[in-house]
C-alpha cells in the first residue's frame, strides 16, 4: 500500500515535469537562453554579453551590448528581452576597436591593421587618392576586411624636406603667402586634417630642409581658418615648442634629443594640445628589443612574413646611444603626468613597426614608460576621437560603430592579451583574419642559365629602375646568345637611384621565398666596368640590404655568402636586384646559382 502511494507520488512528479511547457522549437534560437558563439553569427545585429565593458573612457557597470545594423544601440545591466540573436560574451573583456593615430597606409595596410584589432587608422601622410578611395567606408557599416582611415593626405613640407624622399612627386610650400591656397588644395584632395613637417632653426641637428617658422604659423592659421586640425611632425624640443606656440593642435612624434622642458609641458597641458609619442618607431632607432620580446619569440598567428621583415628592419643612420630610450620614456611619462592628452600611434610601416601589431607594442611601451594603464587604453580609443573630433568610432556608446574587441584576459592586468583577441568585430561584423600562408623554400642549385629564355626555376626576372618612382633611371633586359643582357642608365633624380634587373624569388612578392637552406649566391657577370650593387629585399620591405662589387669587361664569377646582407630575413627573401653602375651601362649575367 505504502509503496503504491510512493510510486504514485513519483509518477505524479514525473508527470508534472513532463507537462511543464517548453519553448516552441521555431522561436527557440531567437527568444531565449541559447547563446551563440561569435563565429555562429552571420549578421551585424545582435546582443552581446555578459561582458566586462570598457567604453573607451571608463569601465562600465553595463554587461550587455545591443548591436543594431553595426552600431551600438544600447547598453544594459542585465540581459534585456530582445528578439536579436544572443552572442555569449563569456564574461570576457570588451573594449572598442583600437585606433592607431600615426600610420602611413597603402597596399594592404588597412587589412593588416584590422587583423590585429586596429579598426581605425589616422594616416599622417600618404597617397591622397588612396585616402579618397577609402573614405566612403567610414560612414558605412557594411561588412569589410579593412580598418577605417582618416588622413592628412599629402603633408606640408619644404623643397627637399622630410616627406619628399619617398619617390612620389609631392607639392611643396616655399613661402607663408602660399599657405591658404596650399591648405585649400589639400582639403580639395580629401585631407581630413593638415600635417606639417617642421624643424626649428634652433634644433641641434637638421636632417633635411624645413619650412621656416613664418610658413609654419601661416599654414596652421590657414588650417584653422578652413576648419581643420593642424598637426606637426617634430623631432626635437625647440621645434616642438615653436610648433605649439604657433598654435599646432598636436604633435605627431615625441623626441629624444633632450628632456622635455617644464615650459612645454605647461603650454601643452594648458592649451590642450595632444601628442602621439610614436615610441615604437623610436625604440627601433635606440633600444631595439621590444619586438623580439613581444612578437618574434612566439609570433601571433596573424603576423605575416612581410610584417616580420618590417618589424626586424633597421634604420640605416649612424647609431644613437641607446640610453636615449630612457630619456624618451621619461619624456612620455612627464607628459602623461602633466595631463597632456597622449595618443597611441605606431608610425607603421617604418622600420621596427608594422600595421596593426605595432600599435599594441606602442601601448605596452606607453605603459612601461609609466603611463597608467587606463590612460593607455584611452590613448588607443577615446583619446584620438577627442583629439581629432571623430564621431563614428572609439567609444562603445549608443550611436557609435560596433568596432569591438573581445579579450580573453583583463587588459588592465596585461596589455599583451590584445595580441590574441578572442574576437574582433568591425561594423558589427565578426572579422576572422585570413591567416598568412607559408612561403615555399628554395633549395640550392641553378636558378637560371638563360640558354634559351628568361625562365627561372622559381619566380621570374624583370627589368627594374627608379622610373617606377618618378626617378630618371631606366633599364631594359633581353636574352641574347644564352646570357641575360641588361642595358640602362643610372641617373640621379630619385633619392635612391637604381637601374638593373630584378629576380622575384617566388610566386608572391608579399611572401617571398624561404632561403633558410641557402648559404650564398653565385653568378657570372661582365659589363661596363664599375661599381655594381646587389640589393636583397626581405618580404614586405622596400628598403633593401645592399652589397657592392666590382665588374670588369671580362667574365668573372662573383660568389657572395648571404652574410654580406646583414639584417636580411632569410625566411622570406622577396627579391634580388642587380644594379648597374652610375651613368650608361650594359652588362651580361649568366648561370645564377644558389649554394
Amino acid at each position: 500500500m505504502k509503496s503504491l502511494v510512493f510510486t504514485l507520488m513519483v509518477a505524479l512528479l514525473v508527470g508534472f515535469f513532463l507537462l511543464l511547457p517548453q519553448p516552441q522549437q521555431v522561436l527557440a534560437p531567437a527568444r531565449l537562453a541559447m547563446a551563440a558563439t561569435p563565429a555562429e553569427l552571420t549578421d551585424n545585429s545582435f546582443m552581446l554579453g555578459p561582458v566586462k565593458l570598457f567604453d573607451g573612457e571608463k569601465w562600465r557597470d553595463e554587461r550587455f551590448v545591443e548591436i543594431k545594423n553595426g552600431r551600438v544601440q544600447q547598453l544594459y545591466l542585465d540581459k534585456p528581452d530582445s528578439t536579436l540573436p544572443w552572442v555569449d560574451g563569456n564574461n570576457q573583456w570588451l573594449i572598442p576597436g583600437l585606433i592607431d593615430s600615426h600610420v602611413h597606409a597603402w597596399g594592404d595596410a588597412l587589412e593588416q591593421a584590422l587583423n590585429f584589432g586596429v579598426t581605425t587608422v589616422l594616416d599622417m601622410f600618404g597617397d591622397h587618392q588612396f585616402l579618397a578611395a577609402q573614405k566612403a567606408a567610414r560612414a558605412s557599416t557594411a561588412q569589410t576586411n579593412k580598418a577605417d582611415i582618416y588622413g592628412a593626405g599629402t603633408l606640408v613640407t619644404a623643397t627637399n624636406g622630410h616627406g619628399t624622399q619617398y619617390g612620389r612627386e609631392i607639392p611643396v610650400i616655399a613661402a607663408p603667402a602660399q599657405a591658404s591656397e596650399f591648405v585649400a588644395a589639400r582639403l580639395a584632395e580629401g585631407s581630413d586634417f593638415i600635417k606639417i613637417v617642421y624643424t626649428s632653426d634652433k634644433a641641434l641637428r637638421r636632417f633635411r630642409p624645413s619650412i621656416d617658422l613664418a610658413t609654419l604659423t601661416a599654414v596652421i592659421t590657414a588650417a584653422k581658418a578652413q576648419g581643420v586640425l593642424a598637426v606637426v611632425h617634430i623631432a626635437d624640443l625647440p621645434s616642438a615648442g615653436e610648433a605649439i606656440a604657433a598654435g599646432a593642435d598636436g604633435l605627431v612624434h615625441s623626441f629624444f634629443s633632450e628632456p622635455v622642458s617644464n615650459e612645454l609641458l605647461r603650454q601643452m597641458a594648458d592649451g590642450q594640445h595632444f601628442i602621439v609619442p610614436t615610441m615604437t618607431v623610436m625604440e627601433g632607432m635606440l633600444a631595439n628589443k621590444i619586438n623580439e620580446e613581444l612578437l618574434l619569440k612566439t609570433p601571433p598567428a596573424a603576423l605575416t612574413l612581410a610584417a616580420i621583415s618590417s618589424l626586424t628592419e633597421r634604420f640605416s643612420h649612424s647609431p644613437i646611444p641607446s640610453d636615449r630610450y630612457a630619456l624618451l620614456a621619461n619624456n612620455t611619462k612627464q607628459m602623461a603626468e602633466a595631463g597632456i592628452l597622449l595618443l597611441a600611434g605606431s608610425d607603421a610601416p617604418n622600420p621596427n613597426t608594422d600595421h596593426g601589431v605595432s600599435l599594441i607594442v606602442e601601448m605596452v611601451l606607453l605603459q612601461r614608460a609609466g603611463v597608467p594603464v587606463l590612460q593607455v587604453l584611452q590613448s588607443a580609443t577615446s583619446a584620438p576621437v577627442e583629439a581629432f573630433g571623430l564621431n563614428e568610432v572609439g567609444y562603445l556608446r549608443p550611436g557609435y560603430k560596433a568596432d569591438m574587441l573581445l579579450l580573453n584576459q583583463d587588459p588592465m592586468a596585461d596589455l599583451t592579451t590584445l595580441l590574441a583577441p578572442a574576437a574582433i568585430w568591425k561594423n558589427g561584423w565578426l572579422h576572422q583574419p585570413e591567416l598568412p600562408t607559408a612561403n615555399s623554400a628554395l633549395n640550392s642549385g641553378l636558378i637560371a642559365d638563360f640558354n634559351t629564355d628568361l625562365n627561372a626555376r622559381s619566380g621570374g626576372f624583370a627589368a627594374s629602375s627608379d622610373s617606377l618612382m618618378q626617378g630618371k633611371s631606366a633599364a631594359e633586359i633581353s636574352v641574347q646568345q644564352g646570357v641575360l643582357k641588361v642595358t640602362g642608365t643610372t641617373r640621379p633624380g630619385f633619392a635612391y637611384p637604381w637601374a638593373g634587373v630584378a629576380w622575384q624569388t617566388g610566386n608572391s612578392i608579399e611572401n617571398g621565398s624561404d632561403f633558410s637552406d641557402i648559404s650564398g649566391i653565385r653568378f657570372n657577370i661582365r659589363g661596363t666596368p664599375g661599381q655594381y650593387r646587389l640589393d636583397a629585399f626581405s618580404a614586405g620591405s622596400f628598403m633593401p640590404v645592399s652589397h657592392r662589387f666590382t665588374v670588369t669587361a671580362d667574365w668573372q664569377t662573383i660568389e657572395l655568402p648571404l652574410t654580406v646582407f646583414p639584417g636580411l630575413n632569410a625566411k622570406a627573401v622577396s627579391m634580388l636586384l642587380w644594379n648597374g653602375p652610375q651613368g650608361e651601362f650594359s652588362f651580361e649575367l649568366d648561370d645564377i646559382t644558389l649554394d
Partner: protein
C-alpha cells in the same frame, strides 16, 4: 524495529505534526505563490517574456527558504522548551533521525512550493523553459534548502520558543529583500547590491538564474564555494551549540 523504520516513522510523524499546524502550512505555501502572482505575473512589464522567468527563480528561492528555516527554528525551540527533545534523546532513536525528519519535511514543503510556483509560472506567466532547465532548477532549489535548514537549526538551538518566530522573520524577510528575491538585485541601491554578496540566498538565486541564463555573470564555482563555506561554518556552529546544550544537561 529496524533503524530504517525509525527514520521513516520519525519523518512521517514530523510531517504530520507540521501539516496539522495551519499557522505554519498556510503562510509557507501561500506567501510565495501570492507574491509571485503579484510581482512576477501581474506587474510584469508589458511585452516582457523574461520578467516572469526571472521572478520565478527568485520567488522560488524565497519560497523554499521559509519552511527550512521555520520548521527547524520554531519546532526545535519549542521541542526544547516542552522537553520533547530531552525525551526523544532518551529514546533509542538516534538524534540524526530527528534532524533528518525535519529536513525531509522541509524538502516536502519545498517541493510543494516548487510545484505550485512552476504551475503558476507556466499557466499565468507564460514562462517557457527547456525541460532540462525546469528539472535543473527544481533540483537546485531542493539542494538549496540545506544552508537555510542549518540557519534554522542554529536559531532553534539558541533561541527560546517565544523568541524563535520573531527572530526568524527578522532574518528571513530582510535577507530575502536584500538578496534581490523580491525585486531584481540590480534595482537595489549600489551599496545594497554589494552587500548582497553576504547573503547565502543571493548566491542561491544567482545559481538559479544561471540555469535560465539571467544571472549577473559571476562564475558558478564562486557561488558554490561561498554557499558551501557558509554551510560548513553554520554546521560547525550547530555542532558546537549542540554539544554545549547536551553537555549542560
Amino acid at each position: 524495529m529496524s533503524s530504517l523504520a525509525i527514520y521513516q516513522k520519525e519523518a512521517w510523524y514530523d510531517l504530520i505534526s507540521v501539516w496539522r499546524t495551519p499557522g505554519f502550512v498556510l503562510p509557507a505555501l501561500a506567501f510565495p505563490v501570492v507574491f509571485y502572482l503579484f510581482f512576477g505575473v501581474l506587474f510584469s512589464p508589458a511585452g516582457s517574456t523574461s520578467h516572469a522567468a526571472y521572478m520565478l527563480v527568485t520567488y522560488s528561492c524565497f519560497g523554499i527558504m521559509g519552511p527550512a528555516m521555520f520548521n527547524f527554528a520554531m519546532n526545535i525551540a519549542s521541542d526544547r522548551a516542552q522537553g520533547w527533545l530531552t525525551l526523544k534523546r532518551l529514546s533509542p532513536m538516534p538524534v540524526s533521525a530527528y534532524l533528518l525528519a525535519k529536513m525531509a519535511t522541509s524538502l516536502v514543503f519545498a517541493m510543494l512550493i516548487i510545484l505550485m510556483l512552476f504551475s503558476v509560472a507556466a499557466i499565468f506567466g507564460d514562462v517557457r523553459l527547456e525541460r532540462s532547465q525546469w528539472i535543473g532548477l527544481a533540483l537546485l532549489l531542493l539542494a538549496g534548502t540545506i544552508p537555510f535548514a542549518f540557519i534554522g537549526l542554529l536559531l532553534g538551538l539558541t533561541l527560546s520558543d517565544k523568541a524563535a518566530p520573531g527572530v526568524v522573520n527578522l532574518i528571513y524577510l530582510p535577507m530575502a529583500f536584500l538578496s534581490g528575491l523580491w525585486l531584481p538585485v540590480t534595482m537595489l541601491p549600489s551599496f545594497l547590491q554589494q552587500l548582497a554578496w553576504v547573503w547565502p540566498s543571493y548566491h542561491l538565486s544567482q545559481l538559479g538564474l544561471k540555469v535560465v541564463a539571467m544571472d549577473q555573470g559571476q562564475p558558478v564555482l564562486l557561488h558554490l564555494a561561498i554557499l558551501g563555506l557558509t554551510t560548513a561554518v553554520l554546521m560547525g556552529l550547530c555542532v558546537l551549540v549542540f554539544r554545549r546544550y547536551t553537555g549542560a544537561k
